[in-house]
Subunit: 459 residues, 2 copies
Amino acid sequence: MPIRLRFAHAGASVSLRRGGGSLIKKNEENPGSELPKVNAAPAVDLAAWLEELPPTMAQAQLLALALPRRTETFSYLQPNMQLALARRLDRRDLVEIVTQMSADDRADLFNHLTPEEQQRLLRGLAREEREDIRRLSAYAEGTAGAIMTSDYATLAADMTAHEAIELLRRKAPEKETIYRSYILDCERRLIGSIRLHELILAAADTRIEEIMDHAPVSVALDSDQEKVAQLIARYDLLALPVVDKGGRLVGIVTHDDAADAMQAETTEDFQKIATVRPFSQSVREASMGVLYRKRIFWLVLLVFGNLFSGAGIAFFEETILAYVSLVFFLPLLIDSSGNAGSQSATLMVRALATGDVALKDWRNLILRELLIALALGATMALVVFPVGLLRGGSEIALVVGLTMLLVVIIGSLAGMSLPFLLSRLRLDPATASAPLVTTISDAVGVLVYFWIATAMLSL
Amino acid sequence: MPIRLRFAHAGASVSLRRGGGSLIKKNEENPGSELPKVNAAPAVDLAAWLEELPPTMAQAQLLALALPRRTETFSYLQPNMQLALARRLDRRDLVEIVTQMSADDRADLFNHLTPEEQQRLLRGLAREEREDIRRLSAYAEGTAGAIMTSDYATLAADMTAHEAIELLRRKAPEKETIYRSYILDCERRLIGSIRLHELILAAADTRIEEIMDHAPVSVALDSDQEKVAQLIARYDLLALPVVDKGGRLVGIVTHDDAADAMQAETTEDFQKIATVRPFSQSVREASMGVLYRKRIFWLVLLVFGNLFSGAGIAFFEETILAYVSLVFFLPLLIDSSGNAGSQSATLMVRALATGDVALKDWRNLILRELLIALALGATMALVVFPVGLLRGGSEIALVVGLTMLLVVIIGSLAGMSLPFLLSRLRLDPATASAPLVTTISDAVGVLVYFWIATAMLSL
């Protein structure tokens, strides 16, 4: 069972308060009060309740739980709370919990400890868990290796269905999922997989190799977690096996861990689209300092971008003094360009993230985007033309209409191309945030506007 | 098995081309060519391959598949392709496929047909399937009812584990998932659930009621699909039971269908954030007409919003003529306000969507937002102050610095509050798009800027 991401956590808690589960109804009216049915409540709800308590009480309540339940509840706590408790607990209590945690959760907790705490914990663990932690905590964040678990069930190809079921019965309680078992050859290479219900449906003496799937989908250790989630979604898998370079099975990523990873990536995309530097905490719980630091970087950077627009304006100061009504249309024109650009950029960022669109599609899409932008720009030119007539006469109207057409096209093409460009440079396309596209479109828009004005109004 | 959403579809296909599965390696170099191993390839890959073919060939290839596989492949086709084939196939062939489809896929296909086609299809089906379609196709889009399936396994509380396993063995092949079975009383009320591996682990004569979970999490028929997905994620469920007002089990939502629904909602949020009206097609495959229509609405609407900024400028024309260097700072100031606002709005839209933040959190968050905005605004005022000094002297620098502080605060507060306001009005918070927030901030920014300028420069 995974450590729930913070936002997923808080999210579901809200849903429950809207009436999702009758279990914590009582809690709803008086959050932080005693949980009504400690024994019946799902562990995730217990964890949410513990997080509302002061650490001393949370520790006492956690230790009051029976052991398998204590571990499960601990696994659902947010990383910060786990850390706080891990530091308060006796080493014996901590080791007891950590030994029972699933391999991926254990590695996550381990990664959050200081080197001294890691050593202290490792000394308390049995050799098997120790090696498991060392292995799982070594993979780069965002890869299949980092979100996989080593709790999977394996079978041999020459077992019978009956033998396999008996083996699973004996081993099942330890494993994160037994709904699919993996078949390995003598060198631990993945040669097949089989679902529990196929085993149950098969005649008792059927050999596994006759009924197993001989070509299970798998990923490499360093595969991007986004790709892992996409494969799990495409093939409706409960878990995806992870293999090393030699094709040996090293772990599985379960569907829920992949979904959590995907949710975190999506939230990161939202943050980037809004020029907020990624942070993985809950917005509700993030400190003011964190939010300030995550937001100020791009805000200041974009100020310098906007100075280009200012410089453009300064260059055309005479035009402005001669036709001050041009300024009236300035926000309108540069915003429209930015809006069209944000539309294209955001659509592409999402399409690249879900895999709807690939790098190679750029050529096909750019022509279509040009035609759409032409239609959008023409429509908007028609809309602003009468406003131009009213405010400044026919010459101004022409300048404004023509500018609108051009800046919408420029904005759209820039907005569409930037995510591809970033992706090609192996940067995250989501960095092509709406404000960045807007700033670029603004600077270009100012130049185009006053250049057209200067030319057409023959200044 | 669900109909894969288009973007999920295309997405995974991309991943595969990057080297995910060796199965379709050959296909990679020559897309649209014959699939190398029709018998070994997963149905979802077969479906992706069929979609590349002209309809006549796709039909022939589909009918060449053996029956259970034909249905599975058909279920994975995109809705448009399903429709095209459904219209080409003989009624007998169509009925054969439709009868075997999972209940939710069948209802989805049905909903896409014209009323005449629906009648034609219904006449060919057995009474059970007919009633199932009528029932499932009646629920409002976006609710649990619309994405649930009626293919679930049920058990009685007084069965033994052995009897239950035998029952599942007989019924399993028809059911979408048997990893969790539901226990109903004599009036079909949901009284418990049990996992397959608990049945397998239990002694053969254990009665279900002794080992079942007596308080399974469930949702109402009209629950929002977002809430369904949140509950499934929170409790790491494979499926969530859906009950009617009397607590009777009417269906289950499987984790993969919930994930697809969630992915669609997230994409919609991205579209809304970028002022693109929601469309559920793939960006790659959407026609130019669709993209034009989905984009033009807000672009034109925002033009009228921007006219307020223009009107503000017109009102202060004299100030501008007296201090034309003020225009230099105009894009900078209004963009900064818009950027800060987009940051807040997008963070809140996402936090409300994942449930990280609830309506009632507004009070707590608004004060924090004010303090953060104060810090952001002060930093940015310090950044632009020297630029003001350089371009226009100390008075202009003061005006620009003070304006920056105020507009960043106003933009942030507006950006944060708008999603809450929309949510309270029962509108989608994602409508508080970055461009809308920018437009509002712009208009306010222009007024604040020139008002401060007029006052401080004593015009």
